[in-house]
């Protein structure tokens, strides 16, 4: 099997995540799709680390993971705050940029 197949898989996963971000209205699902895109890039990083025979790609994927975790914490806190005032988790409703 060609190791490039992992890169194809990463591209497909990234595109699916992008479709989700563009199509869905629920802020939580949009967030999950962003996580999916980050994971697809991680898969590409790990594949490149393996193709080139060094560990740097894995270290960068590790950093991406940490940043993704921080992003989830902040994003979900924002969603909860908006839900408290608007009673809705849809990305269409908060269009006034104020709570």
């Amino acid at each position: 099997m060609n190791p490039e197949n992992y890169l194809y898989l990463a591209s497909i996963l990234f595109v699916i995540g992008a479709v989700g971000v563009l199509l869905r209205r629920n802020a939580i699902v949009v967030f999950m799709c962003i996580e999916l895109m980050l994971n697809a890039s991680n898969l590409a990083f790990v594949s490149f680390a393996r193709l080139n025979g060094n560990i740097d790609g894995q270290v960068i994927a590790f950093f991406v993971m940490v940043v993704a975790a921080a992003e989830v914490v902040i994003g979900l806190a924002i969603i909860v705050t908006i839900f408290r005032t608007r009673r809705s988790a849809s990305v269409d409703d908060p269009n006034l940029l104020k709570l």
Binding site: I12, V15, V19, D92
Partner: protein
């Protein structure tokens, strides 16, 4: 097993079998995240994707990364997601009404074009023969040692910045979800006075227990058969996710708007 995984030849038949078994699962689960109507279902498909991706990392010699993926993503991040989904309301399903006309078609077209570009880019690139991370691991004396060496020497500045990001995120989450207390906290004496003067000194009725439904969102029935609204938590009533029983639905259709509820 760690030695076996990190020093396997670049491609093996076993890996090919595992890849062609796991890759379709990942893609299907990813598609299901996007098309599931309920956020909880999306979250479960997300967990599937994450676990399969962890296996894919491990297959490529990223053993540490695979373990971190399981612990951080399926352990912490997905739990956080499920927690917020429960907080926001499980039954709140997505509206599929387009606010911008033609957005769905445009989005799918754009994404298809983007995907074609990416796949074409990967297919046109020439790659050297895959080396595998075995040699890099052996140079540092082990897989985890190699990663530790990279993080704490070449990437130590990045590591510090990432730690600052984490601390900022923790403080930010606390600030965002913090609620300022506007009135003094009520203590036992005030609460008991309020209860006696407030017109409802006895406890509220508990939610209904039926053959088909036994949950806090199902109201109990009063002697005349109408649902007791105050047996359901106020928060659920406000969200509009109170579940009336089939009995009540049948009675409603019988009366056809006779009395007010």
């Amino acid at each position: 097993m760690i030695e076996l995984l990190s020093t396997t030849p670049p491609t093996s038949t076993g890996e090919a079998v595992a890849f062609w078994f796991l890759a379709p699962i990942t893609v299907i689960a990813a598609v299901m995240i996007v098309v599931s109507r309920k956020a909880v279902h999306s979250a479960l498909w997300m967990a599937t994707t994450m676990i399969v991706l962890a296996v894919l990392y491990i297959m490529q010699g990223g053993i540490f990364l695979g373990v971190v993926q399981v612990v951080v993503y399926t352990g912490a991040v997905m739990m956080l997601f499920l927690f917020v989904v429960m907080l926001v309301g499980v039954d709140a399903s997505d509206s599929f009404v387009e606010t911008l006309r033609g957005q769905r078609v445009a989005a799918i077209l754009l994404a298809t074009g983007f995907g074609v570009l990416m796949v074409a880019g990967v297919s046109r690139a020439t790659f050297q023969e895959a080396v595998g991370v075995g040699a890099a691991n052996d140079a540092a004396g082990g897989h985890v040692e190699a990663i530790a060496e990279a993080i704490f020497t070449r990437y130590v500045f990045t590591f510090e910045i990432v730690s600052i990001v984490l601390v900022t995120a923790a403080v930010g989450a606390m600030t965002l979800t913090h609620k300022e207390r506007l009135t003094p906290r009520k203590l036992q004496p005030e609460l008991s006075v309020e209860r006696i003067r407030g017109g409802h000194p006895t406890p509220y009725p508990s939610p209904g227990v039926y053959a088909q439904h036994n949950a806090v969102d199902t109201p109990a029935l009063l002697p005349d058969g109408s649902p007791a609204e105050d047996s359901v938590p106020e928060e659920l009533r406000r969200q509009g996710t109170v579940r009336y029983t089939e009995l009540e639905a049948a009675r409603e259709s019988e009366q056809e708007g006779g009395d007010t509820r």
